[in-house]
């Protein structure tokens, strides 16, 4: 270690047994930062952030280095750009490895001279360490420099929540730094979530690449919706805000609207690329768009636009759920807000209650009215089905006889979502939900 001072600051530990620091993990090795084996700041080696709930008064444990092993009685403190370290009297002993002349001290506990800012934020804290040696019966008035340490300290809105099967009380460092920066100064759940969804793109992570877990997404640079909804949930939780995670999958109904060979609905179709993607990453296929009228009355025809395009298709399967889309819900002040982190959209205020998760029972019709009008019509411009237009059947063929999803599914009719009524009434007065889906 290069020695610039008589006694030098060697390491600063924020998270230790009994400290108020929030647990952070480095996503590269998935190991917690802090505690005995990984001080947040180790001179010339590494510098990890630390995190606390806003307004916390921070304690740190500091180790010092001295080139010889002579013990020292002194006062130590630090001047900071935001807060100072409260000066305290210590007796330092220095122990080194055998054969070395100098050594390091035992950890010494210090306290900042006031609480951290009482708001969400990301703080660049610089500390200039000094000591006042004890000489001739008194402490010197002259301060001797011990070097500088620089720390990124995150202040969160609240402490993270533990939710069985969903969330744990720690965050990855990258997530904590992002959310503290994006939601700086925000002071309620909704504003925090709005700030996160509005800044998510600046993470650089992309939709449409393989990744279904938070760490996998951070390592791999992005993921699919299952990963994005988990990531958004983890980001909100880094500020102590709970958002629900939901998966929805269209119900694929055969003999739809009483007509043989018709199916509604086979796939959600999205024409947008998603986070940090210019266009969908799927292989282009031919679509037959109906943007005029739905349902098409029997023996009548509407113009169909044929278009070859890259679009995401999330296929269902007859009789049960299969693939679908993942989103998040925030309950705030008796209102329900939907966030779609995969496509960076939201909040959508919905006039409905939090759906019941039930993989066995699809819901539809009026129960989905607000979800459809306020979100689905915008988020998924088309739904794919099998429908007749005059004499011609536009048939979706997604599975072979063995139930295998085809490598190149054939598109039937893509109907503009907003054309689909909540409830479709047939000529004989029978009512059918326009769309039904599974919430899980």
């Amino acid at each position: 270690m290069k020695q610039d001072f008589l006694i030098e600051t060697y390491s600063v530990l924020f998270r230790f047994e009994g400290s108020e620091a929030v647990e952070l993990r480095d996503y590269r090795d998935d190991v917690p930062v802090g505690m005995d084996n990984k001080p947040e700041w180790l001179k010339g080696t590494h510098n990890y952030p630390a995190a606390y709930v806003k307004g916390t008064t921070v304690k740190v444990k500091v180790i010092f280095f001295k080139q010889d092993s002579t013990g020292v009685k002194c006062k130590i403190g630090a001047k900071g750009n935001i807060l100072d370290i409260r000066e305290r009297e210590v007796i330092l002993e220095f122990k080194g490895s055998s054969g070395s002349r100098g050594g390091i001290s035992e950890p010494v506990e210090f306290e900042f001279d006031g609480p951290l800012p009482d708001c969400i934020g990301l703080h660049d804290i610089k500390l200039s360490w000094y000591f006042l040696p004890y000489r001739g019966g008194d402490f010197s008035e002259k301060r001797f420099a011990m070097g500088e340490s620089r720390h990124t300290v995150c202040t969160t809105w609240k402490r993270q929540r533990v939710v069985p099967d969903e969330l744990e009380a720690w965050s990855y460092t990258a997530i904590m730094e992002w959310t503290c920066q994006w939601a700086a100064g925000k002071d309620n759940e909704k504003n925090i979530c709005d700030a996160i969804i509005g800044n998510l793109y600046s993470s650089g992570l992309r939709y449409g690449v393989c990744g279904w877990e938070v760490r996998g997404m951070l390592l791999g640079g992005g993921g699919w919706c299952g990963g994005w909804a988990k990531l958004f949930q983890a980001m909100a939780n880094s500020q102590g805000v709970y958002v629900h995670y939901y998966f929805f999958s269209l119900e694929w109904r055969t003999n739809f609207l009483g007509r043989e060979n018709q199916s509604g609905w086979c796939a959600l179709v999205n024409i947008d690329g998603g986070q940090n993607q210019v266009s969908p990453t799927e292989t282009p296929s031919v679509f037959y768009d109906n943007t005029v009228q739905f349902p098409v009355p029997e023996n009548e025809e509407v113009p169909i636009e044929t278009i070859a395009a890259s679009r995401y298709r999330f296929f269902s399967k007859p009789g049960s759920y299969r693939d679908g889309h993942c989103i998040n819900f925030l309950e705030y002040e008796n209102k329900l807000y939907l966030y779609d982190p995969s496509f960076g959209t939201g909040p959508f205020e919905l006039d409905m209650k939090l759906p019941e998760s039930n993989p066995d029972k699809p819901v539809g019709g009026e129960a989905l009215a607000s979800f459809k009008a306020d979100y689905l019509d915008m988020a998924f411009k088309f739904l794919l089905g099998s429908f007749c237009n005059g004499d011609k059947l536009y048939e979706t063929i997604a599975f072979d006889k063995e139930g295998q999803l085809l490598l190149v599914p054939q598109n039937g009719m893509t109907v503009e979502t907003k054309l689909i009524p909540d409830v479709i009434e047939s000529e004989n007065g029978e009512k059918t939900p326009g769309i039904t889906l599974y919430w899980i």
């Binding site: 099967d165 988990k230 995401y312 490598l407």
Partner: protein, 121 residues
């Protein structure tokens, strides 16, 4: 390669992993789990996959599910085969389902397993 051999090479082989297409694995699973032709031995193998934490080595051009990982999607399909077709028989695998729920990384899969566990209680 028959369905069991294919699934064994995905989940049970110590050889240098080949790369697979997700659709081929699903097809093999559908065949092996078909209630009409399913044997006790194939059922035990499905339960073994359910508890496996092995990652499927997928071909870069393989299709993938979006809402959950290929491994979790496969497990959700096995659950349908095991539980929905014969809930009474599935009671024998309660411990395996609980372990699979604990291991699952997808929240969706955890909820699906939780729902199945309720059915076989």
């Amino acid at each position: 390669m028959n369905p069991k051999e294919l699934l064994e090479s995905v989940f049970d082989s110590d050889d240098t992993p080949r790369q697979f297409h997700f659709n081929d694995i699903v097809t093999a699973l559908n065949k092996l789990g078909d209630p009409g032709s399913r044997s006790r031995s194939s059922e035990r193998f499905l339960v073994k996959i359910l508890q496996s934490d092995r990652r499927i080595p997928l071909h870069p051009r393989s299709s993938v599910p979006h809402g959950m990982s290929p491994e979790d999607m496969l497990k959700s399909l096995i659950l349908r085969k095991l539980v929905e077709t014969d809930p009474e028989n599935a009671k024998r695998y309660r411990a395996a389902l609980e372990k699979a729920k604990e291991q699952a990384s997808s929240i969706t899969l955890k909820r699906i397993i939780g729902n199945h566990l309720k059915k076989i209680t």
